[in-house]
C-alpha cells in the first residue's frame, strides 16, 4: 500500500490532475462567493441600487432579479463541475491508481 502511495506521488499525471481539479474547484468557488457577497454587499451598503426596477413597465427590481440570478448561477455551476468531473477527472483518476497498483515492485 505504501508503495502505491509513493508511486502516485511520483506520477506527474497525478499532480497534473490534482492541479486541474483544484483550479476548477477554486475558480468556481470564487465565482459563487464573489456573486453572493457582491449581492450581499449591495444590500448592506447601497440598498437603493437594488430598489430600482428593471424597466419602466415592470415592478421587478434589480435586487430580486439579482438574488434569483445568484440561485440559478449556483445551481448551474454545480452542474458544470459535475459534468467536468464525470467526463474527465474520474477516468484519469482511475488510470493513475491502476497504473500505480500494477507497477512491479522495485
Amino acid at each position: 500500500m505504501e508503495d502505491t502511495y509513493r508511486r502516485i506521488d511520483a506520477d506527474p499525471e497525478f499532480h497534473a490532475l490534482s492541479k486541474r481539479r483544484s483550479r476548477l474547484s477554486w475558480a468556481l468557488t470564487a465565482v459563487v462567493a464573489f456573486s453572493f457577497y457582491l449581492w450581499i454587499f449591495v444590500i448592506a451598503f447601497k440598498p437603493a441600487w437594488f430598489a430600482q426596477t428593471l424597466g419602466p413597465d415592470t415592478v421587478l427590481t434589480v435586487g430580486i432579479a439579482g438574488g434569483l440570478g445568484v440561485i440559478v448561477l449556483a445551481v448551474t455551476l454545480t452542474g458544470i463541475y459535475i459534468w467536468q468531473a464525470n467526463q474527465h477527472f474520474d477516468a484519469q483518476n482511475r488510470k493513475i491508481v491502476a497504473h500505480a497498483q500494477s507497477e512491479p515492485q522495485t
Binding site: P47, F50, A74
Partner: protein
C-alpha cells in the same frame, strides 16, 4: 426598543419557528390533515420495520451500508435542509417583509456549491461515518475526536431543542394538539425511527418527506400562478397593492439595516451549512466520491428549486391572504402568526384538501429533520467518543447497542428540554448551533483537509477559541443579554456571531499551528502527503459493502 425586538424575533426563520400565538385557535380543525399525517406515520413505521431487519452492523446504522445512490442522497440532503423552519419561516418572512426574506433563501443555497467544490469528495474519501473520522486521520486522534464530537453534539443538541420547541408550538397552532403531547409524539416517533431503523430508515423518511414537500409546494405555486395567468408581473403587482409597505417589498432594508449584521448573517447561512454534522454525515451513505459529488448536485438543484417556490409562495401569500378577513384574527393579524402564511395560502389556493395535505407535510418535515439530528448526535457519542476514545476495542454489536442507547437518551433529553423551555425564547440556542457549525466544525474540517501545516495544538486552540467567541457573542448580544436576561442594551451589538467567531477560529488555528515546533507537529505535517493522496484518489477509503 420593542419594535427592534420584534424585528429580531422575526429575523430567525432558518433557525427557528416562533409562531406568534401560543394557545390561539388552531388553523386546521378538519380531519384531513390528521388522515394524511397518519398515512405518513404508518408508511414510515413500515419502512423502519423493514430497515430494522437490515440494520445489523455499525456500517448499516451510521451509513445505511454505504448503499444509497447519489440521487437518493441528494433528496435526503435537501430534506435535511428543507426544514419546516426554512419553508414556513422564509415564506413568512417574505410575507412580512418582502425582499429581505430572500437573503435567507440565497444564503442558504450559496453554501452548497462550496460544499461540492471543496468538501464533498475529499470528505467521502477520508471519512468513514462522521466528519471526525476525516479530521482525526493525521492529527492526534483522541483530543481531535473530542473536539469534533463536542462541536457536533453542541450543534445537534441546541438545534434539536430549537426544532422541538418550534415543532411543539407549530403543531399546537396547526392541529390544536397540546404542546406537551405534540413534543412527546415527535420525540417518540423520532426515537423509534432512529433507534430501530438507523440511517436506512432516517434516509428514507427524509426522502419521502422531501418528495412530499417539493410536490406540495409545487402544487401551491402552480395554483397561485394560475390565478395570475402565469404572469409574475401580475403577481408582484397584486402583492404590492395588498402589502402595507407597498413597493418597498421589492427592495432591501425592511429587516436588517446594519451592514455588518447583513454580512455576518450571510456568512452564517453560507458556512453554517458546511458545518452541520447531520448534513456532513450524509456523505458517508454513498458508495464513493463520484456518488458523493452527484448527491450535492441533486441536493443543490432541489434546494434551489425549493427556494424559488418558497419565494413565489411568499409573494402569493401577500397577494391572496393578506387583508382577507378569513385569515385574520380579531387584532387584524394573520391567524397563528406570519409563519402560517404558506399554510393559509394552501387553503386560499387549493381549499381544505390542500390545507390538510400541507399541514401534514409540515409535521412530517419536523419529524424527518429531528430524526436526522438525533442520528448524528448518537453517532458522535457512540462512534466518536465511545468506540474511538473510551473503548477502542469495542465490538460492532456493542457499538450499535451504545448507538441505540444514545438515541434514546438524546430523545428523552431533547423532549425534557423542549418541555422546560416551552415558554422561553430559545432563538439563541439555534443561532449558536449555526455559529458553532460555522466556527468550530467548518474551520477544523477545512484546515485539516487543505492546509498541510495544521497541527493538533493549533486545531484545538482555534476550535475552542471559536466556540468561546460564539458563546460569548450570543450571551452578551441582543438575543440573550436583552431578550432573555432583560438588560436594556446588549454589550455586544451583533446578533449573528458567525463572522467574528469564524475569524477567531481560523486565526487561532493558523497562528498556533505556525508557532508549534513540537516533534508531534513535525510528524503531523509530514503525514499530510499521505492524506492528500488519499483525499484526491480515494485510495484506501471506505467503499460500499461488496455484493
Amino acid at each position: 426598543m420593542p419594535k427592534v425586538n420584534r424585528r429580531l424575533k422575526k429575523a430567525l426563520p432558518l433557525f427557528l419557528l416562533t409562531p406568534a400565538a401560543s394557545a390561539a385557535t388552531p388553523v386546521n380543525t378538519s380531519g384531513i390533515a390528521i388522515g394524511f399525517f397518519l398515512l405518513f406515520v404508518c408508511t414510515t413505521l413500515g419502512i423502519t420495520w423493514w430497515a430494522a431487519r437490515r440494520t445489523l452492523t455499525t456500517r448499516d446504522f451510521y451509513a445505511a451500508g454505504g448503499n444509497i445512490t447519489g440521487f437518493q442522497n441528494g433528496l435526503a440532503i435537501a430534506g435535511d435542509f428543507m426544514s419546516a423552519a426554512s419553508f414556513l419561516g422564509v415564506s413568512g418572512l417574505i410575507f412580512g417583509f418582502g425582499f429581505d426574506g430572500l437573503i435567507y433563501a440565497v444564503g442558504g443555497l450559496a453554501g452548497w456549491p462550496m460544499v461540492l467544490f471543496l468538501l464533498s469528495e475529499r470528505l467521502k474519501n477520508l471519512g468513514k461515518y462522521t466528519f471526525a473520522d476525516a479530521v482525526s486521520l493525521r492529527l492526534a486522534a483522541t483530543p481531535i475526536r473530542c473536539l469534533a464530537a463536542s462541536g457536533s453534539l453542541v450543534a445537534v443538541v441546541l438545534y434539536l431543542i430549537g426544532q422541538m420547541v418550534g415543532a411543539g408550538k407549530l403543531i399546537e397552532v396547526l392541529f390544536g394538539l397540546h404542546y406537551s403531547i405534540a413534543v412527546g409524539a415527535v420525540g417518540a416517533l423520532m426515537i423509534v425511527y432512529v433507534c430501530f431503523g438507523g440511517m436506512i430508515a432516517t434516509t428514507w423518511v427524509q426522502i419521502i418527506k422531501a418528495v412530499l414537500l417539493l410536490s406540495g409546494a409545487t402544487l401551491v405555486t402552480f395554483l397561485v400562478l394560475q390565478r395570475f395567468g402565469f404572469s409574475f408581473e401580475a403577481l408582484f403587482r397584486a402583492a404590492i397593492a395588498e402589502h402595507p409597505r407597498q413597493d418597498a417589498i421589492m427592495a432591501p432594508g425592511a429587516l436588517v439595516h446594519d451592514p455588518l449584521s447583513v454580512i455576518s448573517l450571510a456568512t452564517a447561512t453560507m458556512f453554517g451549512t458546511a458545518g452541520l454534522p447531520h448534513i456532513l454525515m450524509r456523505f458517508f451513505t454513498v458508495p464513493n466520491a463520484r456518488e458523493a459529488r452527484r448527491s450535492v448536485f441533486f441536493a443543490s438543484a432541489f434546494i434551489g428549486y425549493f427556494y424559488l417556490l418558497t419565494f413565489i409562495i411568499g409573494f402569493g401569500a401577500i397577494a391572496l391572504v393578506a387583508g382577507k378577513p378569513d385569515f385574520l384574527d380579531a387584532a387584524g393579524k394573520l391567524i397563528g402568526g406570519d409563519n402560517m402564511a404558506a399554510i393559509h395560502l394552501a387553503r386560499a389556493a387549493g381549499g381544505e384538501l390542500l390545507l390538510g395535505f400541507m399541514s401534514a407535510v409540515c409535521f412530517a418535515t419536523i419529524l424527518a429533520v429531528v430524526s436526522g439530528l438525533t442520528l448524528s448526535g448518537a453517532s458522535a457519542i457512540s462512534h466518536d467518543l465511545y468506540a474511538n476514545v473510551f473503548r477502542p476495542g469495542a465490538s460492532e454489536q456493542e457499538v450499535v447497542k451504545v448507538s441505540r442507547i444514545a438515541t434514546i437518551v438524546l430523545g428523552l433529553v431533547s423532549v425534557s428540554l423542549a418541555l422546560l423551555f416551552e415558554s422561553q425564547n430559545v432563538a439563541y440556542m439555534v443561532l449558536l448551533a449555526f455559529a458553532v457549525g460555522a466556527s468550530v466544525n467548518f474551520p477544523l474540517l477545512f484546515l485539516a483537509m487543505y492546509w498541510s501545516r495544521l497541527t493538533t495544538t493549533g486545531a484545538l486552540t482555534g476550535g475552542v477559541a471559536g466556540l468561546l467567541t460564539a458563546v460569548g457573542f450570543i450571551v452578551l448580544g441582543p438575543t440573550v443579554w436583552v431578550e432573555v436576561l432583560g438588560h436594556a442594551a446588549p454589550i455586544v451589538p451583533y446578533k449573528y456571531p458567525a463572522l467574528f467567531a469564524m475569524a477567531v477560529s481560523f486565526t487561532g488555528s493558523i497562528v498556533v499551528s505556525l508557532l508549534d515546533r513540537s516533534p508531534r507537529a513535525a510528524r503531523e505535517r509530514a503525514a499530510f502527503r499521505h492524506l492528500y493522496i488519499r483525499s484526491q484518489t480515494g485510495l484506501g477509503s471506505e467503499g460500499a459493502t461488496p455484493h
